[in-house]
């Protein structure tokens, strides 16, 4: 079950389902549980929301009020998670082997899984979607409602336009001062870019920044159809051709670019996971999360 295939992502838009499948094979926990949860320090009742654990429902109160209430406990986790989704046009790139699967869907799944884990651990999490030159910001919060909100935002994200410019990013990524984790999923085809600079800046502000570089199998191996013409979805003009004669040059250029990306990440002390969308998301996720424990 750990290796749930990427085909599931292609077949369903139900992120809940995918998260359950992925996390079922993943085991528990990102970081050592700063226990929140049920009943250490009771703080308040709140109405039941779908996704709450049944054992936290106060049954006596149900008997009295005929309504479901959940006992909220004081939480002591102060870690906030920030999910950054690159939804620029290049994320529309489909897998050439699995129909219906594209980079955006894969990135969306990874981030949704991280959000679900954060919710289970009681961490606050927020979402930043970069699409069409704009920054769409969802403030950090806790709880199942927040998870539903974030999943809905993720689902609504459309791959279009280019990444926002430096100014927009600067105003958009004004995070809390508290230490936070930043999970950014992008294809990093633009590097250095306003996004990479913003992430490096966050790292310098001592946030824990982790990058997932989303690629397709065909991109890595140069397995494109030689018959069709191609255009760059984010840049104007020009038609590109692919063929056996151009493959070596393509791989060389690509290698050059991504080694620069890796070097920059290493220099900035930012862990980078290279994910191919044909890979099982569980493996990638484990890798992405594990690196945190290493430090």
């Amino acid at each position: 079950m750990a290796s749930i295939s990427s085909a599931l992502i292609a077949h369903t838009t139900n992120l809940d389902l995918v998260i359950r499948h992925v996390l079922a094979g993943l085991g528990q926990g990102i970081h050592a549980g700063r226990e929140r949860g049920s009943g250490v320090e009771f703080s308040e009742y709140r109405a039941y929301a779908p996704g709450d654990e049944w054992r936290r429902v106060d049954w006596k109160l149900l008997a009295r009020a005929d309504r479901y209430y959940v006992r909220e406990a004081e939480r002591d986790s102060h870690v906030a998670l920030w999910l950054v989704l690159d939804a620029s046009a290049s994320m529309m790139e489909p897998s050439r082997s699995i129909p219906g699967l594209d980079k955006l869907a894969y990135a969306r799944t990874l981030l949704a899984c991280v959000a679900a884990i954060a919710q289970r651990q009681g961490d606050a999490f927020g979402l930043v979607v970069l699409s069409g030159g704009r920054v769409q910001f969802t403030p950090a919060a806790r709880g199942p409602r927040q998870l539903q909100r974030v999943l809905a935002r993720l689902n609504a994200a459309q791959a279009e336009g280019a990444l926002p410019d430096a100014a927009a990013l600067k105003s958009g990524l004004r995070f809390a001062q508290s230490p936070s984790l930043v999970f950014a999923a992008s294809d990093f085809l633009d590097f250095p870019s306003p996004l990479s600079e913003a992430l490096l800046r966050l790292r310098h502000m001592r946030h824990d920044v982790r990058l997932a570089c989303i690629q397709t199998e065909a991109e890595c191996t140069g397995g494109f159809d030689a018959d069709s013409a191609y255009r760059d979805p984010e840049r104007e003009g020009g038609v590109f051709r692919f063929g056996a004669d151009l493959r070596e040059g393509y791989l060389r250029n690509r290698e050059q670019h991504f080694s620069a990306v890796s070097a920059a990440c290493r220099a900035g002390d930012i862990p980078l996971v290279n994910a191919r969308i044909e890979q099982a998301p569980g493996e990638v996720l484990r890798q992405w999360l594990r690196q945190a424990g290493r430090r």
Partner: protein, 335 residues
């Protein structure tokens, strides 16, 4: 009726049929630009020129068919084709005795043949000019009081002509007799035999064809008729010097044509008959002579090129419908 030359020109329009190739040519797409699909990592590839593939592909087949049909229809309309569609036919001259015609049809074995009613005088000429409408194995039977043609006609189909002379219909001619000797003139006209009948009026009217002027006075200037018989030429000085034929002097005047003779009204029966005969031969249409029954074998005379546009109406409607359809489809395709 189109002139033979015109009809021959018509069939030249068929040579325009190769224009049908034009829409076919237009509707074959020669070059198709290769559609560029987005590729995120295209930036690692060298830029190339947009490639065009040479592909022969049909575009808008329905529109092409419509346009071809439109052209074909137009050419057919111009060429005005004649389709052989008539089978065995009985041509019955108008006004023939129906029972006699039925007997003849039974006798000639044309029981199932189509009937066609034509004016007797034009029947044979019409059949000759429309002969292309008959199928090659068709036989024809022509019945009725068919006048004899001047020369023996030839037909491409076996044609049987059965005639029955019909008593000629009486023709009435209005005659006005003005003058003293009315009785004598009336006697003269009552001796008229044959289909021509004289109706005697006392005063000339619009229908009067002949005025017998038996008075010394001149007629009023407004009085006109095609023919005047003047018994007393004193009032018509023009007749005095007019040429004479067979004892009758004749002249043209503002009143009409004038005849006069000093021996009028005719005294004896022979003179009266001569006058009436002269009148009838000069002023009444000759009586047709009924042709004898005859069987024409099929001959190899060239077909007449006459085409009277029997298909033109249908073709015109088809043309309009096709044009409307073509416009509609073109418009729909643009949107």
């Amino acid at each position: 009726m189109a002139a033979p030359g015109g009809a021959a020109m018509n069939s030249l329009w068929w040579l325009a049929l190769p224009t049908l190739l034009l829409p076919v040519w237009w509707h074959r797409k020669k070059r198709v630009q290769v559609a560029a699909e987005p590729l995120a990592s295209a930036r690692f590839l060298p830029r190339t020129e947009p490639r065009q593939m040479r592909v022969w592909r049909w575009a808008d087949v329905i529109l092409m068919i419509l346009r071809c049909l439109l052209l074909a229809c137009l050419i057919a309309w111009l060429a005005d084709p004649v389709l052989p569609w008539r089978g065995h036919t009985v041509v019955v001259a108008e006004g023939s005795d129906a029972r006699w015609a039925e007997q003849q049809v039974q006798a000639a074995g044309f029981k199932d043949a189509a009937r066609l009613s034509l004016p007797a005088a034009e029947a044979l000429a019409w059949v000759r000019s429309h002969e292309r409408e008959w199928k090659p194995d068709a036989r024809l039977l022509v019945l009725g009081d068919i006048p004899m043609p001047a020369e023996l006609p030839q037909f491409r189909h076996p044609l049987e002509l059965r005639t029955l002379a019909k008593p000629a219909a009486p023709v009435e001619v209005h005659v006005a007799i003005v003058g003293a000797r009315t009785g004598e003139w009336r006697r003269l006209f009552s001796a008229l035999d044959g289909p021509l009948r004289a109706v005697i009026d006392d005063t000339p009217g619009a229908k009067t064809a002949l005025i017998v002027w038996d008075k010394p006075e001149a007629p009023p200037a407004s009085l006109r008729a095609p023919l005047w018989w003047i018994a007393d030429a004193a009032a018509f000085p023009a007749l005095a010097t007019a040429p004479a034929v067979d004892g009758i002097r004749y002249a043209d005047s503002p009143h009409g044509r004038l005849w006069t003779s000093s021996a009028w009204p005719p005294a004896d029966a022979a003179a009266a008959r001569r006058l009436l005969e002269t009148w009838r031969s000069l002023h009444a249409a000759p009586l047709p002579y009924t042709a004898p029954s005859h069987t024409f074998a099929a001959s190899k005379t060239p077909a007449s090129t006459h085409a009277d546009g029997a298909l033109r109406g249908i073709l015109m409607w088809a043309l309009i419908a096709l044009f409307a359809l073509e416009r509609t489809v073109t418009h729909a395709r643009r949107r």
